[in-house]
Amino acid sequence: MPQKSIRQALNEALAQEMRRDPRIIVIGEDVSGGAGSEGQRDAYGGVLGVTKGLIGEFGDARVIDTPITESAIMGAAAGAAVTGLRPVAELMFSDFLGVCFDQIFNQAAKFRYMFGGKAKTPLVIRTMIGAGRSAAAQHSQSPYGIFTSVPGLKCVVPSNAYDAKGLLIQAIRDDDPVIFCEHKLMYDLRTEVPDEPYTIPFGEANIVRDGDDVTVVALARMVHYAGEAADALAKDGIEVELIDPRTTSPLDEDTILESVERTGRLVIVDEATPRCSIATDIAALVADKAFDALKAPIRRVTAPHTPVPFAPGLEKLYIPSPEKIAAAVREVYGYGK
């Protein structure tokens, strides 16, 4: 099976779905991918390179460049969705959520409910998350916890190219607004991806590796850091069960709870800040529903409650590391022994 990067997997998902369904449009800043060139279209395939080739195949009625106006992009996309199109809108940096939050939080997320189920809002918002590039505090955040907290929104946070393609196609075919979070350091990460279209159901976690000693739940880039930690821990005989929820809303509670009921020990790894976050939410879930199974306190390995630092040395300290994850696992593994 061919190896593809996350960028290629997302591009393939968009192209295949646009071929299947003429109602699907792409809208955002320079999604035609010509900005910065001498006028030729699709010179770069968009800032993220994900929309490459779409303008040529589907034309500018379906691949719509916008001004730098997030509120207009999201407002237009939400309106298009509720009136019969299936837009995939691009919010280049999820950090810019603030300027278009009304359109997402109080409009798109509420339409179906406010109209008594008579309106559908098949809207996908692709957006970039993540620190690690010295892009500073205003371009490095991972605000999927905010999206997850809003009833009416679904939230996807993939960690590899196979999941990225299947989850994006699922998102496009879903009749509710879906926020699709892409980590800016992971676009070139490759894995085996089928050429055919396929879907991965929301709310179905991936068990990345099996283990009986400690359950580790991690998202996006942290799945790979947790995997590195698990490799190191395996050498010392500590077997980690690594769970990637893939979607934070809906969340596959059963897979997490079943695992903790077996291991009795839980570490949650999250690149986002810890207050009112996914890590905190999962800790509460397990404390609430699997308290009797716990043999050790739940540990969260997260960023600190501060903005993301610009200085590379500080930023490195800010992001959870494989070493910090391994230390947390060792701590809960040794607790009470």
Partner: protein, 371 residues
Amino acid sequence: MSAITAITMPKWGLTMTEGKILGWLKAAGDAVAASDELVEIETTKITNVLEAGETGVLRRIVAAPGATLPIGGLIAVVASLDTPDSEIDAFVAGFTAPEPAAAEAENTASAPQELAAGDYRLHYLDLGDGGVPIVFIHGFGADLNTWMFNQPALAERQRTIALDLPGHGGSTKALSSAFDSAGFAADIDRALAALGINRVHLVGHSMGGAVALHLAGWQPDRVVSLTLIASAELGAEINAAFIGGFVKMERRREAQKVLRLLVHDPALVSRQMVEDVLRYKRLDGVAAALSAIAAEWFPNGVQRARWAEIAATLAIPTQIIWGSDDKIIPLAHAEALADRVPVHILDAAGHLPHMEKSAEVNRLIARFVAG
């Protein structure tokens, strides 16, 4: 100098790169004969038992339980009792596993290919050379990987071909021609024509068994022998809950429950095996294909029992292999034919005896195709 034989990590299936020793079924110093069960090995997909290939004494266990070794890595040494320990030591010390590059080259040589058969692209794996080829036909919802313990072993003696039926594995998913046993038999016929193969030994499992039977009844001159494993269409009963569950399942937990019905020992169904089935089921077109095939083959949860008489009266040598604990198609379908064709019932096996008791099934097929 006496003969010393290396027991090495086997390669089961296309994607296996390493295996983990679960437990030894023989101790150092035990006499072993060919086909004795030696050691349980776990891969990411499945756990299987490795059998001895030689007669001798298990002189040294090199890989302890829990050890993970690459394919070709030394796990034990078999030699005669009078071989001095020093020679065994020297053999172990001097053993070199094949280079990863060589293993990779072999991997490429054994990659599946694609052929055109009518409107379909069919995925197939062609292993081994010479002789009348053995053609493997998988069952409902499966693919050529179901033969991962059988095809490489039998390919050591002759050419073998395993195909993915339309709607399955890596073949075209959208069904555009008939897909009852006659329709699938016509697809296999077209595939064999594309490969330039005339005479074949057929091995069919479950739904693939009925396809093989149809092909044998239709073109008896081309089929040299017929091995039917837990075959469909030999009787009316089938586990409708399994078929319905398989068609419907989308998530890991339900898939695990459904797939466990296939085997005698539920521990055989690994997470990776569940994941592989789900990855197939998620592809566009698969749900539609499986629903259509299930409705054609098992309408209202009942099989068209059209082949029992043909299986019993075919002039082609035919053998039937069944697991004693088959929870999908009842053992009675095989037993009803036992006075007319050889029927081999394998203990502690479910609907997948070719995986659960692979060495025994391989021996039965090898002996049968050798005439």
